[in-house]
């Protein structure tokens, strides 16, 4: 997209087309000739993996929607009918349910990559913010999808999460009633969640286009964080990046397939095989694993309102990362202190995830509070200060120099 295209249509039809809708040259310059830093490691393949997973989710989801009934009386049994009576329905459903988990695996890996190598920094701020929006959309879409099978966890997750809005002073209760379409989670709630769960993936697809567009304006970051300077620093997207992405999509699919075919219910909650029952609260309501760190933050704070603000803030704050990080050096490879604090940050998020799955009692609450303080402390205090005081390692002059000196990261 940047620079002029070198695409020369050969056939007369493509020449005719090029003068009317130059889509072939757009594709060519975006996905064939597009220069990509030559030193990208496998952490850079998760963008392609995410695109692949979005495709998997949309395709399996559309077919599942042909068989699913969004009604409180039929939803649970229609899902079971998909499992039992639809040809390869079990495969579609397990691909889709586990696909959500692996979508988040790739999403988190992509975010970790961006944070570690400082991919959010100038000039990639808009690219990063679009990524945060995509993550928010994923969170909302995944949550609504989890409600659709209308099991016990579906119902109670919907109840707990929508009830969070009731913490807002004054407008809280009316908002919750409006979200539910009634005075409790019920059929209108299920219907609208289904409608939105079908809509949002296409919104995600649209924002992905913007995300890729923004990426192609500024070019990819790389493990050194030093911008490509000469042609020697880059390689063509095709075949170099495509074959590398393709290989790692294969590796990723092996893990994905292991869960789909051999552990299809491992990532789910057994209570969701019990039909939703508004009269019986499960002993322990837990969200899906990919929400656990945020759930732990919510529960770590005694005040419901502040807890909800912290929950929302913990994701929204990421959008401000380009300005919270004051360092001019991008990559953690050249920022020894930042690297340590960041790895602790990742460990804290994993720790919060574990605590989110446990009963919020005693030591678990204290641990969750400490980790929550670190979560926000790292982003709001450590990160701005580090840039002012940290002594960074010398940067290579160019990507080629880093590669040739064996400093490949």
């Amino acid at each position: 997209m940047s620079g002029h295209s070198t695409y020369q249509p050969q056939s007369s039809f493509m020449q005719w087309m090029e003068r009317r809708l130059p889509i072939a040259s757009l594709m060519y310059s975006s996905f064939v000739a597009y220069p990509t830093p030559r030193n990208l490691n496998y952490w850079w393949t998760f963008g392609g993996i995410l695109t692949f997973m979005l495709g998997v989710q949309i395709v399996t989801g559309i077919v599942l929607a042909m068989h699913y009934t969004p009604h409180v009386d039929y939803a649970f049994n229609s899902v079971e009918s998909i499992m039992r009576d639809v040809n390869y329905g079990w495969l579609l459903r397990y691909l889709h349910g586990n696909g959500a988990s692996f979508f988040f695996v790739a999403g988190y890996a992509h975010i970790v990559r961006g944070m570690y190598y400082g991919s959010y920094k100038e000039p990639r701020e808009v690219l990063w913010i679009l990524g945060v929006i995509l993550f928010l959309l994923m969170v909302v879409t995944g949550f609504m999808g989890y409600v659709l099978p209308w099991g016990q966890m579906s119902f109670w997750a919907a109840t707990v999460i929508t009830n969070l809005f009731s913490a807002l002073p004054g407008v809280g209760e009316p908002i919750v009633t409006w979200l539910w379409g009634g005075y409790a989670v019920g059929n209108p709630t299920l219907n609208r969640f289904y409608s939105l769960h079908y809509l949002l993936p296409f919104v995600i697809a649209g924002v992905v286009v913007l995300h890729v567009w923004a990426l192609h304006m500024v070019g990819q970051n790389n493990p050194t964080g030093v911008e490509p300077k000469t042609e020697k620093d880059t390689v063509a997207f095709t075949p170099y990046a495509t074959v590398k992405d393709g290989f790692f999509i294969g590796v990723f699919c092996l893990f994905y397939a292991w869960f789909v075919f051999y552990l299809p219910n491992y990532l789910g909650h057994s209570d969701n095989y019990i039909m939703a029952n508004p009269g019986q609260t499960p002993t322990h309501i837990v969200p899906e694993w990919y929400y656990l760190p945020f759930y732990a933050i919510l529960r770590a704070i005694p005040s419901k309102l502040i807890g909800v603000i912290a929950l929302a803030g913990s994701i929204i704050i990421l959008a401000f990362l380009p300005w919270l990080d004051t360092s001019r050096v991008r990559s953690a490879s050249y920022r020894p202190l930042f690297r340590q604090f960041l790895l602790i940050f990742f460990a804290a998020v994993i720790g919060l995830g574990y605590l989110g799955s446990q009963e919020p009692t005693g030591g678990y609450v204290i641990a969750a509070r400490i980790l929550t303080v670190y979560y926000f402390g790292f982003l709001l205090v450590i990160l701005p200060l580090l840039g002012l005081f940290e002594k960074t390692k010398p940067l290579p002059h160019s990507i080629s120099e880093a590669v040739l000196s064996g400093g490949r990261t």
Partner: protein, 291 residues
Amino acid sequence: MISHRIIAAFALAASLAATAPQTAAAEDAPPRQKWSFAGPFGIYDPAQLQRGFKIYKEVCATCHSIKLLAFRNLADPGGPGFTEAQAASIASEYQVTDGPNDEGQMFQRPGTLADHFPPPFPNDQAARAALGGKLPPDMSVLAKARAYEGGFPQFIIDAFIDYQEDGPDYIHALLDGYADPPAGFTLAPGTQYNKYFPGGSIGMPKPLADGQVEYTDGTPTTVDQYGRDVAAFLMWAAEPSLDARKRLGFQVMLYLIALTGLLYFTKKKVWHDLLHDPDLMQSRAPTEYQR
């Protein structure tokens, strides 16, 4: 460096997958059993499913419905292995409510392959009224709706050893878990003590005794064996596609390993020149471009 980061990424994913089973905390952990359908190559044993079905029919079905199961399923591949004629004959032993007929009346008729197993009670209220206020859960997906927490690090190990049998383990343990309550334990009225039931007080009286159900194939008629067989049957009822899933899974894994291997060597070939002779960069395929 790269490879250990990749491993770290998936370890992170696996460790975040900590949610799975959350029930039964204070109770005893059900001991893990050997199941024919465990592991990547495990499939159901039709003889065991037939024995389990016999127990369901003669014992469980008195109180528990299994509404999602149809008689035709008994003859489905990967199931108990009844012939279609046998399944039809089993169906005809049941009376199914049908209608309304031309006179507007509901009527009873013998079941057919297309019918689902009729529930023992017309509705939940009738079941509660007959059973002292307790509602026996429907058994269609029961084996997937019961679990217990393995805890850390067991849940990570389970992901690698392909352990998905906590439901049947729990059912087997529960059926043989009736005991005298420990000292100081107050039993809820109208319940029995079961060391594997969450909370300990279970409404269901001890359902099985040694020798209660007759086996014709020489299998021991013990509660332990009954529990094993009926748990296997319930796992099949909950997950009838397990055999097909594992068979397809094996093919998919082989395909993906071959594809990924080929892609790896293709990647190596494509990148080889770049990594070993940077001067070739100038003439790289397939195109020149400008930024």
